[in-house]
């Protein structure tokens, strides 16, 4: 079967699955609760998307298994935390402008710092283990330990409370439905990033080269492109995305703690398994599925929330092991 037939199936399953997941829980709860949960699920999904998309593209392009993504996520959260601490008066200020400004400053700080860490990681460590998945897992696992311990060294081992900028707190009352402000912001962030990534991938020459490289790394090199520079760049971009996800998640969950990366990394991996390696759209769809199902199940059957995702992952593995939107070789 050709790639396109598979993609047709993937779209079909994704649409059907998402619609089903969307509508099914409606049967078990009042409409307002449903809406609240849906928004919470979408928000969580968007944050997962940020982390998962980085993992997906890095693997798709570089064939590198990056276990350290969770640590990069945590670093992003902590850099954001420090930025807020330094500019605390802007965070607490009753000014929309200042709140958003400090938020953007934190985002930029997180992306820059973690991006640099990503570059160091790729050039010094990851580059030496191209070609061996086993050593990649081992070495990025070691890198995770080091990065998380460094968090403990610089920031201390305890959980810290993350202050939310004033404007982001609280709810909006939309047609008698209480909607958490920050969750909407997360959804907006996620969709914007998705749009930006797709724009870069589809409309710029760089993006086209990256997409070509995901399909056939060797050919892109043989056509005159410095694939190593590309790798470092994509790795840093993936790290930046993870940092953004970490910062957003810190505000979302109101706390930062050194091990926060590992929980979300597991979710991110589930997302990538469901969505398919190398596909940004797959990461988005997978992330939404994971986020929504987690929230619905958490409400209906609390102890089974994490398990529900693992079950979905197992189903996908049995039915379509390469994921919903597989790309590639």
């Amino acid at each position: 079967m050709s790639e396109t037939t598979f993609r047709g199936w993937g779209r079909g399953i994704a649409v059907f699955g998402t619609v089903a997941i969307f509508l099914f829980p409606l049967m078990g709860m009042p409409a307002k609760t449903y809406l609240t949960l849906t928004i919470a699920g979408l928000a969580m999904g968007m944050l997962l998307f940020l982390v998962a998309s980085g993992v997906s593209i890095i693997f798709g392009l570089m064939d590198v298994l990056n276990f350290a993504h969770g640590a990069l996520f945590a670093w992003g959260a902590y850099v954001g935390f420090s930025t807020f601490k330094v500019l605390m008066n802007w965070v607490e200020a009753d000014s929309v402008f200042q709140n958003f400004a400090v938020f953007f400053i934190a985002i930029i700080a997180a992306i820059v710092v973690v991006g640099l860490i990503g570059i160091l990681l790729e050039t010094i460590i990851v580059r030496r283990v191209y070609g061996s998945h086993l050593f990649q897992i081992l070495i990025t696992f070691g890198a995770t330990i080091v990065l998380v311990e460094l968090i403990r060294v610089f920031w201390g081992p305890n959980d810290e409370v993350m202050t939310v900028p004033l404007t982001f707190r609280g709810n909006w009352d939309v047609m008698d439905v209480i909607v958490d402000r920050y969750r909407i912001i997360c959804i907006v962030i996620g969709l914007t990033l998705y749009g930006i990534i797709q724009l870069i991938l589809k409309k710029t020459k760089l993006g086209t080269i990256v997409r070509a490289g995901v399909e056939n790394r060797e050919m892109v090199q043989a056509m005159g492109h410095n694939i190593f520079l590309l790798f470092t760049g994509v790795f840093a971009a993936g790290a930046g995305l993870a940092a953004l996800g970490g910062l957003a998640m810190a505000i979302f969950s109101l706390q930062v703690y050194p091990d926060m990366g590992s929980t979300y990394l597991l979710f991110a991996f589930i997302v990538v398994i469901i969505g398919g390696l190398g596909s940004v759209t797959g990461s988005l769809v997978g992330a939404l599925i994971v986020g929504l199902s987690y929230n619905y199940v958490a409400y209906l059957v609390p102890w089974a929330a994490a398990g529900a995702n693992i079950i979905i992952m197992i189903i996908i593995l049995l039915v379509r092991p390469r994921g919903l939107f597989p790309v590639g070789k």
């Binding site: 050709s2 790639e3 396109t4 020459k205 086209t208 080269i209 997409r211 070509a212 399909e215 056939n216 060797e218 050919m219 892109v220 090199q221 043989a222 056509m223 005159g224 492109h225 410095n226 694939i227 790309v327």
Partner: protein, 240 residues
């Protein structure tokens, strides 16, 4: 007699533990189409990939236009004016024909734009399916796209690996026509198992067997040498 544009001197290469190239020496002159022929597993594709830098050579020298390239990276080698058409064509199936060409085009200047036009003149189908996803092209069209990508830059040397593989005879004829057109603009080194194609476009040949060049000469001589053909190419005296 012109200077060889490419000189391969005593090149050894390993794939894993297998010593595939065991001292390959040959050169490609600028005024002729050079064909590498030989049995399956003789190492023909490996030679091309090693020239392109996709495989490291453990010993030996490769000199292109006077510079040593055997230690360079593939993208550096490509940028020196060497085009590569791999055995599996290397088409980016998820990208459109246009995007495939854009990835190939290394510069965004007038010259490249003009070359693109001329290339599309040569391959009418590509112009027709410009916005079509490359995965939807037929086998012959994919082969044309692969060749088009390799010549859209200022290519001086074109390495083509088994272009006739998997193609219907009538398509092979059009590929032959294309190569005959191209060879006026750049030097072609062709790896081929299909003797009809090899003899239709080739001027000089080198026979590879067990990782070394065992025989070289002019194509017009090989065509009539039945013994050589049957011994090294397995072409029986009846068919040829």
């Amino acid at each position: 007699m012109s200077e060889p544009i490419l000189k391969v001197e005593d090149v050894h290469a390993f794939i894993g533990q297998h010593h595939i190239l065991q001292g390959v020496t040959f050169d490609a002159k600028a005024d002729a189409v050079t064909v590498l022929i030989g049995r399956n597993g003789a190492g023909k594709s490996t030679v091309i990939r090693t020239v392109m830098g996709l495989l490291p050579s453990s010993k030996g020298k490769i000199v292109y236009k006077g510079s040593e390239i055997h230690k360079k990276k593939p993208y550096e080698i490509a940028r020196m004016g060497i085009g590569f058409v791999p055995e599996d064509m290397g088409i980016f199936t998820g990208l459109t024909v246009e995007e495939n060409m854009r990835v190939a085009m290394l510069h965004d200047d007038e010259n490249t734009a003009q070359r693109l036009e001329r290339t599309l003149d040569m391959f009418a189908d590509l112009r027709k399916f410009w916005k079509r996803e490359a995965g939807n092209l037929s086998g012959g069209q994919k082969q044309m796209l692969s060749i088009a990508r390799a010549i859209v830059n200022d290519t001086s040397l074109l390495l083509i690996d088994e272009p006739s593989k998997g193609l219907a005879p009538i398509i092979i004829e059009s590929v032959i026509g294309v190569i005959n057109q191209i060879k006026t603009n750049c030097v072609v080194i062709l790896v081929e198992q299909n003797f009809h194609m090899a003899s239709s476009v080739g001027d000089r040949f080198h026979i590879l067997d067990d990782g070394v060049v065992i025989h070289s000469g002019l194509m017009e001589e090989l065509v009539v040498d039945e013994d050589l053909k049957s011994h090294y190419l397995g072409i029986s005296k009846e068919s040829g």
